[in-house]
Amino acid sequence: MRIDFALVLPEILLLVGACALLLVDLFVKGEDRRTSVLMAQGVLLACAAATVFVLFGTGGQTGYAFHRLFVSDLMSNVLKLAAYGTVSAVLVYSRQYLLDRGLLRGEYLALLLFALLGMMVMMSANSFLSVYLGLELLSLCLYALVALNRDSAASTEAAMKYFVLGALASGMLLYGMSMIYGATGTLTITDVAKQVANLSRDSSQHTFLIFGLVFMVSGIAFKLGVVPFHMWIPDVYHGAPTAVTLVIGTAPKLAAFAMAMRLLVNGLLDLAVDWQQMLVILSVLSMAVGNITAIAQTNLKRMLAYSTIAHMGFMLLGLLSGVVGGNWFNAADAYAAAMFYTLVYVLMSLGSFGLLVFLSRKGFECENLEDLRGLNRRNPWYAFIVLLLMFSLAGVPPTVGFYAKLTVLSAAVNAGQVWLAVVAVLLSLVGAFYYLRIVKLMYFDEPKDETPFAGQALGPRVLFSVNGLALLALGLLPQPLMSLCFVAIKSL
């Protein structure tokens, strides 16, 4: 059992850190919670160090712990590192925002860290049980975070909706899992894969499997937020305090991607023909509904919410292109494309929701399109960063958003799904319109008030610039991140 604990070191550290933070925070004085925030960042740093330690300790080999409930492989560790970075950035972005609104309390930090723990468990899950545990830990924390601002009716309503729909989705996922358990007799994902490979396609268990699969895909679709399981996204993104939207819109996407990989690819790759068909429908619907509905939005948070739906549809293009006619020759390429897309999307989403947090001030919520009007006149540098963000979201080179689109489209074309690629590019053209509208507002229109944006703390300012420039830098040199994704997927 010695090796077991070494593999789960990051999770243990985070758990201990989060509990300690809850205690320490009781003794922290002062509104700004400097010590608590620093401690949270410290915990994240320690986790990152532990993950790097695990990576080097295992030499990138896959290792199991706790009777194969837990798996530590390259993909999970890469995603974990990305999640630490994201959560750390979230903290930097949202500190001032929360402080101004009296929401910067110990609970926020602790819930954030526990949510992260849930994500990490999902990323490293090798059993339906651990997937579910991680998912519930994440979801419960997020429900509470959405309702963080108790006095706001909108937030409470959003939390309620999120909770009800989330519980429904969890139920579906569980139901699907139980079906698959019934057919295979095991909860361990790697064993499920072996069992499924041995089942013939006409056996009665196979029907069970497909039945369970449908429910499982619905559960995953809900967590990713793809049509027709997307209803919660706009309301929750809109209703939650922007700093919480920033949380929901970023790191959990990594976990949802990991969950999809674990359940569908690790566990049910032999049923790929079946779930790929479902994903095609989800993907096309998401791109269509997300992009077209986003045009009608005047609220930035809602617009970005619909844009998320569209982007997740795009990401599915990679997931559904892995297996063609029973051979998975291109599978690693396709899943690596989906992973690359997810990582890039999280970076863009961090920037775009970060922007909203960043430009909000005490007594002013930056959340309508109008609020960006004339930004170029008020602060050309921020306008330039937002320009990069928007063109990246639209997928225009030389930003990294283009390469994300390129990789998944290439996967689809390689899988012989040319028509799907054509549909995708046409819908992304629709999407380009609403991103361009923001550029138009910033550059072509005159501002309503000329006061320059200023007064943000150094941390968020630097982070925002780095975030935007990273999109450009990764766009000029996308190779390292692409290879990393490929190597990570190969290790599965």
Binding site: R378, V425, R437, K440, M482
Partner: protein, 493 residues
Amino acid sequence: MLLSLAIWVPILAGLLVLVAGGNAGGDRNAPMQRTIALWGALFGFLVTIPLYTGFSLQNPGMQFVERHEWIQRFNIYYHLGVDGISMLFIILNSFITPLVVIAGWTVIEKRVGQYMGAFLLMSGLLNGVFAALDGMLFYVFFEATLIPMFVIIGVWGGANRVYAALKFFLYTLLGSLLMLVALLYLYNKSGGSFAIMDWWKLPLPLDTQLGLFFGLLFAFAVKVPMWPVHTWLPDAHVEAPTGGSVVLAAIMLKLGAYGFVRFSLPILPDASRELAWMMIALSLIAVVYIGLVALVQTDMKKLIAYSSISHMGFVTLGFFIFNAYGVEGALVQMISHGFISAAMFLCVGVMYDRMHSRNIADYGGVVNTMPKFAALMMLFAMGNCGLPATSGFVGEFMVIMGAMKANFWLAFAAATTLVFGAAYTLWMYKRVIFGAVANDHVASLKDLNPREFLVLGALAIAVLAMGIYPLPFTEVMHASVNDLLRHVALPKY
């Protein structure tokens, strides 16, 4: 090295100009930004001259080649090179850039640095499109040029600029996205290569070729623009600031035509031959119908925009008659149109800066107050009609010769452009320049200042030189064009 310099010198200069503006959002540093922009543009032009002097006339292949690994995962290379077809466009583009900077020197009053910076960035990106030998590198440059142009039209454009900018962007993006799918398909079929020259050798069945041809056609036809996807161009031209119109007409339209010779013809020769009738028909519609549309315009910029579409119809016509006269004539026409349309738009800009009107009806008798300007504009108007001894004549004559070889009636229809072109250009010229002084505004016009004279004079020299002695322009093309035609004649399946 030379090609990299041609791309990155303007881009770096553009970034420098932007940085020099500081972050206050004002125009405090405008004089310094102008100076940096001018030197950057001039230096960018200087580094392209060795491309011509060092060019080997006998070599039909790529020269000045650079090749570095860029994205190994997708086998994408930073692969640059020019042949006789692309080399002149890089020089043309780098020649136009300083002129645009000078033309906008005092005319642009707000956000000067961003204006200059956007043009320099675009200049470098456009050079990249012409120099790229890797399909994905080409695409990246091709798409990236949209961003600065979008901003240029939207920020410094006329009253209806937002509509024009969005229409321009979305129209061209639609085309390019379909091209992206076509490129990915080629990548897949060629076993994982984005090298354009590998694709030339790739055997493809006819139905695949036809599908790909339409995928690429959207991208290039929108850019050229060919009838019936030309409607964005008049809007974009009318609303864009003078410099934007100049670059749009002189360089950006050439990207589409260049795409045909670089991609469609050599990669899909059979589909090109199969669909030549369609391309010729669309080209002739552009030449004749759009020529007639130009005749009735009341807005000078719109008139020149339609005239551009008509002239570009000549270019696509030349490509799809598959003989040396036709293709070379089309390429010469592209260069010449680069000079003449740039000059015409600058002429309208000169008048617009003084009168703030582009309406033909607001003018009349300008020659009385602006004789120097009237003389120069006369030359460009003649060039636009294709009068011998101007550059406009050479290309049109060669294309008509080529068409004559293919089919008499084709040549006959194409030759009507000489009539229509003369009609709409000279009629406009007459109404604007000659006659009695129309109103007090015209009476108080001041003739060209030295800066404007310099810009128009440089273009006048280019137009005349190319018209009188076109050999320096055509001789560099021979080897590459003949090679291309030999290649297109061979079936690929």
